[in-house]
């Protein structure tokens, strides 16, 4: 990082079914919520990046996504950039906004992730849209689904580590409980482990609740600022982006054994976290709250390993200890995660930053606020996110790790 970057505001449009709202309208709601939260003047925003994957699939509007979203929010006068990268799109937007401020060229950057995936009469269309985040000509047009691909990875890891469908149901139950008090979450009804196990099967060991829904709308926005701008915004401390590791998958020869973690969303995550930890001067033992890419429940379990919180094979033990639930030593997916808060693809990575910001500020509310062992809000948060696939060997396009820290006082 060349300059320190602070998260000064965040906002959401509730994740769920919003058939009455257009894609730009979803984004607009999140953007103005973030501006209001930051307490800045909209005209101060000097860089904007919009993450969206599928508006072109549904409407044919392949380009001009960023000016459409920003302009129809009543904003103008800054460069407007469109990014995508499957499930990592939101984090790509966060990365671009952070780099803009860190470079010294911009002082207040907006990152917004927005997706409109819910199709009232045809749920398979949502699945087909998401299929465009993989290579259509050799995979998704031939019938491969993301849940099928992740399910196959999960089966491999069940054989390798002894994970069970009950473990997946435990993750799902935990994240459902986390979503119950979250007014922005898609799924707020609790489900027992048994109900989850008995739900409709989707692919292999995965039942419907163990998979994030494809048919969901939502938007999330954050504002990132230089220290000078942050200092005059709001009478409070602001979380700092202490570490940011964004890497991509390397081609692996098909003549060599594949030693990668075993889930696309966790490939390269150890490298991304190594970078982020080094920048922040911290390690996994310092983490107090974590948001990860649980598009299917087993992904959260593998995240425990690749982030460095347990040894390979001890993921189920960590889960069953309760450490990763609210009230545990390192709660995961405190807003419900992709599974229960929802996964409108390009919005998720930004929503993870919003949740981390709220928790670090200590403003999540009595039913959701994480309090660490001395009764204070957390001071070190991590975000893990990944997405998109392509090329020979089909490596992950973007694997990201973000470490956010909160000073005890603004002058610390």
């Amino acid at each position: 990082m060349l300059r320190d970057v602070y998260v000064v505001g965040g906002g959401l449009h509730p994740f769920g079914k919003s058939p009455e709202a257009s894609m730009p309208r979803l984004a607009r709601n999140a953007i103005w919520a973030a501006i209001g939260d930051a307490g800045c003047a909209a005209g101060e925003i000097d860089f904007a990046v919009v993450a969206n994957c599928y508006h072109g699939f549904f409407t044919g509007q392949a380009d001009a996504i960023a000016p459409m979203v920003i302009g129809r929010s009543g904003l103008s006068g800054m460069p407007m950039v469109h990014v995508s990268g499957g499930g990592a799109s939101g984090t790509v937007a966060v990365h671009q906004a952070a780099m803009a401020v860190a470079s010294g060229q911009y002082d207040l950057a907006l990152a917004v992730g927005v997706e409109k995936l819910y199709v009232p009469d045809d749920p398979t269309l949502s699945i087909s849209a998401i299929g465009t985040s993989g290579e259509q000509d050799i995979a998704t047009d031939l019938g491969l689904t993301w849940v099928g691909s992740l399910g196959m990875s999960a089966q491999t890891l069940m054989d390798r580590y002894g994970w069970t469908a009950r473990d997946f149901a435990t993750v799902t139950h935990k994240n459902r409980e986390h979503a119950v008090p979250n007014p922005y979450a898609e799924h707020r009804q609790p489900m027992s482990v048994e109900e989850i196990l008995m739900a409709r099967p989707v692919a292999g060991p995965l039942t419907r609740p163990m998979c994030a829904s494809a048919a969901v709308d939502g938007a999330a926005a954050i504002l990132l600022a230089s220290e000078e701008v942050a200092a005059r915004l709001g009478d409070r401390s602001h979380p700092k982006i202490a570490g940011l590791g964004v890497v991509g998958g390397r081609y692996l020869s098909n003549r060599e054994p594949d030693a990668r973690p075993g889930m696309l969303s966790m490939d390269e995550a150890p490298r991304a976290f190594a970078r982020a930890y080094e920048q922040a001067g911290l390690g996994p033992e310092d983490l107090e709250i974590v948001q990860v890419h649980d598009a299917v429940a087993p992904e959260e379990m593998l995240a425990y390993q690749v982030i460095g919180l347990c040894a390979p094979g001890d993921e189920a033990k960590l889960l069953q200890s309760g450490a990763t639930a609210l009230g545990g030593s390192v709660p995961f997916n405190t807003d419900g995660g992709l599974l229960s808060r929802g996964h409108p693809i390009a919005a998720s990575g930004v929503a993870q930053i919003v949740e981390s910001m709220v928790q670090l500020r200590g403003t999540a509310g009595p039913r959701r606020q994480v309090l660490v062992k001395d009764g204070r809000p957390p001071r070190v948060a991590a975000v893990q996110n990944a997405g998109a696939q392509g090329g020979p060997g089909g490596g992950v396009a973007v694997s990201a790790a973000v470490i956010m820290t909160m000073a005890t006082s603004w002058t610390e």
Partner: protein
């Protein structure tokens, strides 16, 4: 009903035997599919030469899908197949769905088959089925 070959230019059907149109690096010998001019292992341009890859391999992993892409009849078995020459390809398997849990390691061969029906258009592509010439 119009019939669209989804994999035209990616494979060749030689009287029922599918050949995947891949490439092989003249420097390191890496074989990949689909064909590219540049080697992703050497990360250097213009090293790859066209190379036909027989559509025969082994099921690496498979799963029974109860929900699928538009127009694909469910349930069906999704799989990754390692071709004998190395590259891994995605395929639907033409097998009894009940055997999805026990098909890993099975030798399979590719054929052209129905993939999906979208509106009045039939889409065809490769599917793998148990080999009649298992090693």
């Amino acid at each position: 009903m119009p019939r669209v070959n989804l994999v035209d230019g990616l494979v060749r059907d030689e009287g029922g035997q599918i050949v995947f149109l891949g490439s092989r690096c003249s420097a390191c010998g890496e074989t990949i599919f689909p064909a590219l001019p540049d080697c992703p292992l050497c990360m250097a341009p213009d090293l790859m030469e066209p190379h036909d890859i027989l559509g025969r391999g082994t099921v690496l992993r498979a799963i029974l899908a109860e929900r699928g892409q538009a127009g694909v009849p469910v349930p069906y078995v999704q799989a990754h197949v390692r071709l004998d020459e190395g590259p891994v390809v995605y395929s639907t398997l033409q097998i009894d769905p009940a055997s999805a849990g026990s098909v890993t390691g099975t030798v399979v061969e590719a054929t052209m088959a129905h993939i999906s029906t979208i509106g009045d258009q039939e889409n065809v592509g490769w599917k793998f089925t148990r080999s009649s010439h298992a090693a």
